[in-house]
Amino acid sequence: MLRCLRLTPVYNKRLFSTSSTAYNKVDCYISTINDAYSNLAFEEYLLRETKPERHILYLWRNKPCVVVGRNQNPFQECNLRFMNENNIPLVRRRSGGGAVYHDMGNSIYTIFMPREAFSRRKNAELVSRALNELDIPSSVNDRHDIVVDNHKVSGSAYKITSSRAYHHGTMLIDADTETLKGCLSKKRMNNTGIVSKGVESVPSPVTNLRDYSFTVDHQQFCESVLAEFVDAYNDGIPVEPIILDENSPLPNKVKETRQELKTWDWIYGQTPEFTNTVETELNWGHVKAIIHSRHGKITKADITTNNNLLHEPTIAAAISVALEGLPYSRFAVNEAIEKIKLEVPGLINSDNDHISDSINQWLQEKL
């Protein structure tokens, strides 16, 4: 009888009494809050504050944003200029792995399990089966990515604590691939001078499920994954998902984590050490800049030129010194120049400001 009910897992049908929830070994949460910071904060809450032995499925999606892994260098991985121009925020998650683009055409699943049960393959296969149930010919490859026709439709990342682990993954249903490429395609960035200690993304050609099914959508995806999930972890007994929406009261811990995820210290300050080396010909000489950065700030800058006159090397050196301690960004040189004007007025004047302007313009493009 219960198996028949499972075939129509529409979650607003109360076909099972509330007493059955006491025997469920699993929980399911679905978020309709489409803010990446809130969703990630709630995910962290589920990881740390729920019972370790419960398997939990969390389904969510975000308004357009780019999410980088815990130890990645966003200056290397994302096209921050493009993102800025298109109002796409940068988010850093707690788990490892590479950079991904999120929008409402991208559904995200997180499966929580006790630490001893951690497995990369098991849940990837579960989600792949859920897609198969929707008539999509997916499979899991060697990197534990879910692929259709050798095109990646889902990327995964994992986090492990002392008692718990989670596997979360994206699912490209109908995402805006042009914007995705704008944000992440290395071909469209000019940051080849960056050498980083962080974790680099492994680029893969991606495709939307929409290319394989006209009807698949977020709702169907959620229902199908939930059905496979209860099969695997709750002996097939369906569970009623708990819906989180804009009006749901969030625990204080969630609000705290959300706040932390928005701070500069986490988003940029968590960036591993890197060096950016660039050179160019400006109209007054050949210039080379080596910028060292740690924790998102510039620790040392070396701007040198082959021009041996007075103004050019002086300005280059002054900017180098002024850059130290400033947050790394394409506006750093601008800030450095303002700093010089404040601290050493007259150093930059109408005779030589063309030099500082040209350095500023050049590095704005490069950083």
């Binding site: 815990r70 788990s95 490892g96 001893e116 990369r120 994992y158 986090k159 002392s162 682990a165 974790v199």
Partner: protein
């Protein structure tokens, strides 16, 4: 590689024994203060300062390590508090401090060579050194024999 490890071990031992008898006793004493946590971390204490890292079992479960986040020198840590994370090809895993105290040294080599955790987890892949604030905490940790048992009973990932 094995030779390099061997020479580093020999150099590191400050109490180079002259008499054979005391040599074996000194060796025993050197290893007697290595303890383990149920999170698969080891800690080796010398003069009130404990060096800790993850065990060989942990590194094998983690897979190839690609990045290590260590605590900072000067951080005050509590036992079982998260003090860093190890990112491997498999996952980002939290690291916990086995004891309470102040971090006095951090293994800088890991930022250039995170793979030290895989190749030498209990020696060159050490994570940090903590000046113990409460040496009695060590009594609550496992000795080598108890840890071996834990590992033998653990399942494969």
């Amino acid at each position: 590689m094995a030779l390099r490890l061997l020479t580093s071990r020999v150099v590191a031992r400050p109490y180079m024994p002259v008499v054979r008898k005391s040599a074996t006793w000194a060796v025993y004493r050197g290893y007697a203060t290595k303890k383990y946590t149920s999170d698969h971390e080891w800690i080796s204490v010398d003069n009130g300062v404990g060096t800790f890292g993850v065990t060989d079992y942990a590194q094998s479960a983690l897979g190839d390590v690609v990045f290590v986040e260590t605590p900072a020198v000067g951080d005050v840590v509590a036992a079982e508090e998260q003090v860093g994370a190890i990112e491997s090809v498999k996952a980002a895993s939290d690291i916990y401090s086995p004891v309470s105290g102040e971090v006095v040294d951090v293994n800088e080599a890991l930022s250039d060579e995170p793979s030290l955790i895989n190749s030498s987890p209990e020696d060159e892949g050490w994570l940090a050194k903590v000046k113990l604030s409460d040496a009695s905490e060590l009594d609550g940790l496992m000795d080598e024999k108890a840890y071996q048992e834990l590992v033998n009973n653990a399942e494969e990932h």
